[in-house]
């Protein structure tokens, strides 16, 4: 199986330079449906699903490999090499922002620019560092995930790939957007919220854009500032859009910011 098949990759657009969109924790490549088409005129647009999400090959999920976001970064490198991406643009949302940073360090030739939407190198506060979550909150989250009650499966029902216990429910609620395997999502949450990649921000060679949302519970302003400060060559843009997903809630503003940067 090729990396493209494993990641359900779709390549569109007429440009010669590639722009790769990476979805974050909680959804799949559908996240980019309002943004990606805007770049098809100038770029070769690459969309893909991380293993465990969307149309990816679930059997490729290896708990050990994906216990760290380095596993996801290796996938990005493998996929982009297979698609012959060189000096392209990487657009990563949420945890995929840091996945892109790691991929760019593993294979510097792949990308010329990085666009980081709501990035966070560490979600837990640490001494002077403000991550947005106290250690107690992260523990509460992990405990919440571990006590995986049936209701939680119900919570996930709209976003799971079929529900073995209640197929009629899945039929009713499952949609073509944002499919994730609940068990893998749980592990992905653990990987994401326990990660600390602050050190990896140092020495990034690529030009970078930090897109910061307003009122983002997941990645608050202080974190965006930190990322901007640590990245050697970065631009910081504060969006008017609120929440954690500006590419869905304010696609035009997001597109404009990216275009301006490029």
């Amino acid at each position: 199986m090729t990396a493209s098949e494993r990641h359900n990759a779709t390549v569109t657009g007429t440009g010669s330079r590639a722009i790769v969109f990476a979805h974050g924790f909680g959804c799949d490549q559908n996240m980019w449906r309002l943004v990606a088409p805007a770049f098809e005129g100038d770029f070769r647009v690459v969309l893909f699903d991380h293993v465990g999400a969307g149309g990816s090959d679930l059997s490729a999920y290896e708990p050990a490999k994906y216990a760290s976001i380095n596993g996801y970064a290796s996938d990005v490198v493998e996929l982009c090499r297979e698609l012959d991406v060189r000096g392209g643009v990487y657009v990563g949302h949420s945890v995929s922002a840091m996945i892109g940073v790691l991929a760019a360090k593993q294979a510097p030739e792949l990308f010329g620019e990085l666009v980081l939407v709501g990035p966070s190198p560490r979600y837990t506060d640490d001494a002077d560092y403000v991550g947005g979550f106290t250690e107690a909150q992260i523990h509460e989250l992990l405990e919440f995930l571990d006590n995986n009650h049936m209701g939680w499966s119900q919570t996930m029902a709209p976003v799971i790939m079929g529900n073995a216990d209640r197929p009629e429910l899945a039929q009713e609620l499952t949609n073509s957007f944002c499919r994730t395997d609940p068990e893998i999502a749980k592990r992905f949450a653990r990987t994401t919220f326990l990660s600390d990649n602050r050190a990896d921000l140092e020495g990034v060679a690529q030009r970078s854009l930090v897109l910061q949302c307003s009122d983002d519970v997941i990645a608050p302003r202080a974190v965006g500032d930190y990322v901007h400060r640590k990245l050697p060559d970065s631009v910081f843009v504060q969006l008017a859009a609120g929440g954690h997903c500006p590419h869905l809630s304010a696609p035009e503003e997001t597109i404009a910011a990216i275009r301006a940067f490029l």
Binding site: G26, G151, Q154, A157, G243
Partner: protein, 559 residues
């Protein structure tokens, strides 16, 4: 509030009031929110569930009401979903309540858009899921308990198997120890019995030889024949004893012949009478027209004598001993009872008027080494050897006994359809007429004394004898031009070539060469279960020179 009419139209004000009531007191929580989740309106039901004022809720974002897991999943999963498909349904979340446990809820949300497609507000509906969550928790606990119980049961089963296996192993060890001790006891009985019998016979043989030597040295040759006869008889009985032992082990090649049991019994009557003594009356009842049976007559004689001795021992104060023969038709049922195939049999029964045998003992009398006699007075092999011989002859032994009245032991033997034994006797007699005409016999045996005896006997009879000590030496003779009319070879030979292999090599250079095998019990397998090629015969050790000579003459007389 005015009572509502169920029949007439209601006014606008009343309808508004009705809808207001429905909104505020609906059995679910209602929230209107801005696209970013900021609450603009909330009903009384939700406010009361959250135990706070409505004012405290308006202005806050809906996701702020959630616990930390809910907040994160709401932002990462449900907001994108709502944006992309316009709604989400039945999402299980926990609403945080100040000073109280979180409220489990199911949440539905839908975007309300204006004509231009812009989101005007979110309608969020909240269902109290406390009962459902409790039910789910109970269900999960029950499932976990069932799994734990299942695990425990599997564990128990595994350990049960181990425990049973251990118990069985211990039991088998105990049984093995018991068997071993029984075996040792049996060997004690056996060695005692055999030593007793053999010592008697050896005493007779040694004594006879000593007397013979004395008389020869004295030159008194007139009555030496007595000692020769006595010594030979004792040696023959010793040979019979080893035959009986081998028959018991079913190693003894039987020599079945068509036999008239009546004649055999008649020939034994005198011996039986003398053996059992005067206190016991012996009566023989021979059936008229008794069928012929195919058995080894010597073994049958032994068996009969053995049964009579047992009968004698059961009647220490005297009594009556009856030997009876009869023809028997055993139908399926009768045959089943006797563990035989249905058909025609003869019975040879020995009945005593003695003490009888208790049922417990009846169950054991055929066990090897079982005896009621003291050590040294019996091998305990008698009945089991009889049974071995009779079973080997296609028959069965049955016991009928009544305590205080006596015992009947019956041998059932299958009828033989064929010529009687007279012809055999006539043939034997004819054989003796063959006389030597310079025939040469090659004798191969590693035991010098046997080789010497055979050669001497042959020379006395006018034959030429060539001796060889092993297969290689024998083969050398056979491969030469030397005349050889008969090969007599021991089955067991030293030097890597046994009698059978020697024979195969011999017949390559001399096809059809007559061969007489001499064999002990152990080489029966070498004979291929008695399947001998034409021109081959067997004589078993120990044998008398007479028997050997008869056999050699017989073979040389064949055309």
């Amino acid at each position: 509030m005015r009572p509502l009419s169920s029949t007439g139209p209601i006014g606008d004000a009343a309808a508004g009031e009705d809808l207001q009531d429905l909104f505020e007191n609906a059995p679910c929580g209602y929230v209107s929110a801005l696209p970013n989740g900021q609450i603009t309106r909330v009903n009384l039901t939700l406010a009361s569930w959250l135990a706070c004022d409505r004012d405290q809720l308006v202005g806050r974002r809906f996701q702020e009401l959630l616990n930390i897991g809910g907040k994160i999943y709401y932002e990462t999963h449900f907001v994108p979903l709502l944006r992309m498909q316009g709604f989400f349904n039945e999402v299980a979340l926990d609403l945080v309540r100040a000073g109280r446990s979180p409220l489990p809820v199911l949440v539905n949300a839908v975007e309300r858009r204006d004509d231009d497609g812009r989101v005007r507000f979110l309608r969020i509906t909240v269902f109290n899921a406390s009962d459902r969550r409790r039910y789910e928790r109970d269900l999960l606990e029950a499932r976990r308990a069932a799994e734990t119980a299942g695990d425990a049961l599997r564990e128990l089963n595994l350990s049960l198997e181990t425990r049973v296996a251990e118990a069985i192993a211990r039991r088998m060890e105990a049984e093995e120890a018991l068997r071993q001790s029984q075996k040792m006891e049996a060997i004690g009985q056996l060695t005692g019995g055999i030593a007793h019998d053999f010592n008697n016979l050896l005493t007779g043989i040694i004594g006879s030889l000593e007397m013979l030597k004395t008389r020869l040295s004295q030159g008194r040759l007139d009555d030496v024949g007595r000692y020769v006869t006595a010594g030979r008889d004792a040696a023959k009985r010793a040979a019979t004893l080893t035959h009986r032992l081998l028959a018991f082990a079913r190693q003894q090649p039987l020599e079945p012949r068509p036999t008239d049991a009546n004649r055999l019994v008649a020939g034994m009557e005198d011996l039986v009478s003398r053996t059992v003594g005067a206190a016991i009356t012996v009566e023989v009842v021979g059936a008229v027209g008794l069928w012929t049976v195919l058995v080894d007559p010597n073994q049958l004689e032994n068996a009969l004598l053995n049964l009579c001795i047992n009968a004698r021992d059961a009647m220490p104060k005297g009594g009556r001993l009856t030997i009876e023969t009869a023809n028997r038709w055993l139908d399926e049922r009768a045959a089943d009872e006797r563990d035989l195939p249905a058909g025609q049999y003869i019975s040879l029964c020995v009945t005593d008027t003695g003490s009888g045998i208790s049922p417990e003992v009846v169950g054991r009398i055929f066990d090897p080494f079982f005896t009621t006699k003291p050590i040294g007075q019996g091998t305990g092999l008698g009945l089991s050897m009889i049974q071995g011989f009779v079973r080997q002859s296609g028959g069965q032994v049955r016991v009928y006994s009544e305590m205080g009245h006596g015992t009947t032991m019956c041998l059932y033997l299958p009828r033989h359809h064929g010529p009687g034994d007279e012809a055999e006797v006539a043939g034997e007699a004819a054989d003796h007429h063959h006389t030597a005409t310079g025939e040469t016999v090659l004798v191969v045996d590693d035991e010098p004394s046997i080789r010497m005896l055979i050669a001497d006997v042959l020379t006395d009879l006018g034959y030429a004898a060539i001796e060889a000590e092993d297969g290689a030496a024998g083969l050398k003779v056979l491969q030469s031009q030397t005349r050889v009319d008969l090969l007599v070879t021991d089955m067991t030979l030293p030097g890597g070539m046994n009698g059978r292999q020697l024979t195969e090599a011999a017949r390559k250079v001399r096809p059809g060469l007559p061969v007489l095998f001499i064999t002990g019990y152990a080489e029966n397998s070498l004979l291929g279960n008695g399947q001998l090629e034409p021109g081959m015969q067997v004589v078993t050790k120990p044998f008398t020179m007479d028997a050997l000579v008869r056999r050699i003459k017989d073979m040389l007389a064949q055309p």
